[in-house]
């Protein structure tokens, strides 16, 4: 089975790297919520995607998570 975001092997939808990036995106949500007070999931993902510090795989995962199909 191939990763949904690249051609690497994946056991459950995403390869190890994109899986790590996904966990990092999910983990950071609570920190961002605390930082801004209130922050919706999709708004958060948008900010993560636009943030120039965000890593390439994290951006790819955030885009995938933001798609209506995923949310």
């Amino acid at each position: 089975m191939r990763c949904r975001l690249c051609e690497r092997e994946a056991s459950a939808g995403l390869c190890q790297y994109h899986e790590d990036a996904k966990r990092a995106v999910e983990r950071a949500y609570q920190l961002w919520k605390d930082a801004y007070g209130t922050l919706g999931w999709n708004e958060y993902l948008g900010m993560v995607i636009r943030n120039p510090e965000t890593g390439q795989w994290a951006v790819e995962v955030a885009r995938l998570m933001r798609s209506p199909h995923e949310s």
Binding site: E9, D20, A28
Partner: protein, 684 residues
């Protein structure tokens, strides 16, 4: 007969011992020098680095495992080293008439190995009876003294360690690289060398780990709060006592609390810091400093330093030592460099007692790098001139007094909140003056403030910030990491970094692991993780050091290494199919396949690559998402080499390639329907 490591060193030795008049003889095109000294006839000849190298007798790149290795003339192992056999023949001819041999190669493990091999294989087994001379500079005085003190060879252990390193690195690299290359070939990829070495593996591992950290990084927002104060019409800014505030609510509270209040200087703390000069250079420090100031890659610094050594301008550069023994004669060197116009400042130090600052690191073979005081005979090349200047200034600075700096830290209270500002001023330059432009000078001014001063709070602002992603290694910081992890040696680290770049595993000024590099590490992590272990590499390094000291059995170390490699090979062999598939698919997926030209502008997720038709054998461009329905394709010129330009066409976003047929390559957008091409055609 005197054996030197390099031709330039042989010339210097001959000139020093003969008092400048050696006769030059050509033997098969190879120069040697002869002269008489103290009633004896001398012949001085040179190797050219390693004349012998380790290889397997099969010389077949597909055969592995290979554990029976032998020493061969270097050019039989590396085809481009064509001079080795000619030089060996000359040495053998000269050795026939010799009654005594002297090993005058560099005094370290590599020098011992070079000298040992030349004496053993080129001079009829003279390695046991040869005399050894020891010197750290190629100046006449030191060379003459070294030959007067020549001793019988007692450093067999060091030669043994040097030879063992070559054997271990060969066995390690050749077996694993062949296993990987063969696996990839078995999985249907074209043959390509996928190499991994003993130190190369963990080093590439550092770069890949950092790349993964960067690519998966999600930043955290924070705020920095600053207040602007005014005192006697002078405005200045101070930062909030907590540099990173992680919630907006807290920022709002600070701003709310402080608004409309005034500040009061709560504390003014002054401290004077004494900053001693940095120790004289060892090779690692020199490489890092040259990278920091000139962006000179470590291998280029090493080459420049070696050139300077061979020109007798500096001492032997491959040293770990940060110490300068009194025996080098500090005063003579400072006087000599001080007589050069650009270093005349050194003369100021000659009045006092001369005692250099030294670091902790030591090297039993050589002192820290120092200038000999000799003047360059001809203008130095750009890299050599910069490295020389750095070495001379660092040497002079080591004798200078400490710099004295004053630090002032002010705390301003505003309604229970604290703001801080600070300044640093240089009170006495000390060594900073001698180190010149390489010394970091910190000068931060601030208004005169006293405890109890009342200040008007003009404004309070915040900045939205995000934690920065981790930094990629550069050549200097990677070298530092290798030193810290104790992998590689002072002589090999720079070369290993260059090899990673040459293999295409990393690229760019900030070393970015390429997709190919990532693929290799992925496969090794899965199937032979020990190969990437810094612990294992360090362990071998430490054991080699012990072999050099004579406290470890070299045979046992080689046996151990073979056992380790065998286990890894068994693992790779058992999974050959999977390894091959992983390498192929990783190469394809990540674009490390050399045929990948760039992203597909049609489906946006696939990659355009060069494909050869099975039917017509013609090449064309197709998308990797063909099986998913993407029909992007384009014809290609059938002759000439095609290389991706790693750029997309500005007009149509299809990849640009370079086509090389004849002397000059030409650029081509692979899209036959590119509007830019149409426009050009119409214009014509």
């Amino acid at each position: 007969m005197v054996v030197c490591e390099k031709p330039d060193a042989a010339r210097r030795v001959a000139e020093a011992l003969s008092e400048g008049s050696p006769s030059i003889t050509l033997t098969g095109g190879v120069q040697s020098y002869s002269f008489a000294r103290k009633g004896e006839r001398y012949v001085v000849c040179a190797a050219q680095g390693h004349l012998y190298d380790v290889s397997d007798p099969f010389a077949e790149r597909v055969v592995y495992p290979v554990f029976d290795v032998e020493w061969f003339p270097h050019d039989l192992v590396e085809k481009e080293a064509a001079v080795a056999s000619r030089r060996i023949a000359a040495i053998k001819a000269l050795a026939k008439g010799a009654t005594r041999f002297v090993n005058a190669c560099d005094f370290d493990a590599e020098g011992e190995t070079i000298g040992f091999n030349v004496l053993r294989y080129g001079c009829g087994g003279a390695e046991g009876s040869a005399l050894r001379v020891r010197f750290s500079t190629l100046t006449r005085e030191e060379l003459k003294e070294a030959f007067d003190r020549a001793e019988s060879s007692t450093r067999d252990a060091l030669a043994s360690a040097g030879r063992a390193r070559h054997v271990i690195d060969f066995v390690w690299g050749v077996n694993l690289s062949r296993a990987l290359s063969q696996s990839a070939l078995g999985a249907g990829q074209r043959y390509r060398t996928v190499s991994i070495g003993r130190v190369q593996g963990p080093t590439l591992g550092f770069l890949v780990s950092r790349e993964v950290e960067i690519r998966t990084f999600v930043s955290r927002p924070f705020w920095a709060v600053h207040a602007e104060f005014e005192k006697e019409r002078t405005r200045f800014s101070a930062g909030y006592s907590v540099e990173r505030i992680y919630t907006r609510a807290e920022v709002e509270k600070i701003e709310g609390d402080c608004s409309g209040c005034e500040g009061q200087v709560e504390a003014v703390k002054r401290s004077v810091l004494s900053q001693p000069p940095p120790p004289p250079f060892n090779i690692g420090d020199l490489q890092k400093e040259a990278y920091r100031h000139f962006r000179l890659p470590p291998n280029r610094t090493m080459q420049a330093a070696e050139r300077l050594y061979l020109d007798a301008l500096i001492s032997y550069p491959r040293t770990n030592s940060q110490k300068l023994p009194r025996s080098i004669n500090y005063r003579r060197i400072l006087q000599a460099v001080g007589s050069m116009q650009e270093y005349s400042i050194a003369g100021d130090l000659l009045n006092g007692d001369l005692k250099p600052v030294e670091g902790d690191k030591d090297d039993p073979a050589h002192p820290a790098i120092y200038p000999t005081g000799e003047r360059p005979g001809s203008p130095l090349g750009s890299s050599e001139a910069r490295v020389y200047d750095l070495i001379v200034r660092r040497f002079i600075a080591a004798f200078a007094p400490s710099a004295r700096r004053e630090a002032v830290a002010v705390t301003i209270a505003v309604d229970g909140h604290q703001f801080r500002l600070g300044s640093r001023n240089t009170l006495e330059e000390g060594w900073l003056r001698y180190y010149g432009r390489y010394a970091e000078r910190v000068q931060a001014e601030m208004p005169a403030l006293r405890e109890g001063d009342r200040l008007k709070l003009v404004s309070i602002q915040h900045e939205d910030k995000f934690e920065p992603r981790p930094q990629r290694y550069n050549q200097g910081s990677l070298l530092e990491k290798m030193e810290k992890e104790n992998i590689g040696t002072k002589a090999t680290r720079a070369e290993i970094i260059s090899t990673l770049v040459a293999r295409g595993y990393v690229g760019g000024e900030s070393l970015t692991a390429s997709d190919l590099g990532m693929s290799v590490i992925e496969v090794m992590k899965r199937h032979a993780p020990s190969v990437l272990s810094t612990g294992l590499t360090r362990d071998v390094e430490e054991k080699l050091e012990r072999v050099g000291n004579g406290t470890e059995d070299v045979k046992e170390l080689i046996r151990d290494t073979i056992r380790t490699i065998s286990r890894q090979l068994d693992e790779l062999n058992a999974n050959e199919g999977v390894v091959g598939r992983d390498l192929s698919s990783a190469a394809l997926a990540t674009g490390s396949d050399q045929d990948v030209l760039g992203a597909c502008p049609v489906c946006k997720s696939g990659k355009l690559r060069v494909i050869r038709s099975r039917k017509t054998h013609k090449r064309f461009v197709g998308c990797t998402n063909y099986s998913k329905g993407c029909r992007a394709s384009a014809p290609l010129p059938q002759r000439g080499a095609i290389k991706p330009a790693n750029k997309a066409c500005r007009t149509c976003s299809w990849p640009i390639v370079y086509v090389r047929r004849g002397r000059f390559p030409w650029r081509l957008c692979v899209n036959p329907k590119c509007p830019a091409k149409e426009a050009k055609k119409n214009a014509l």
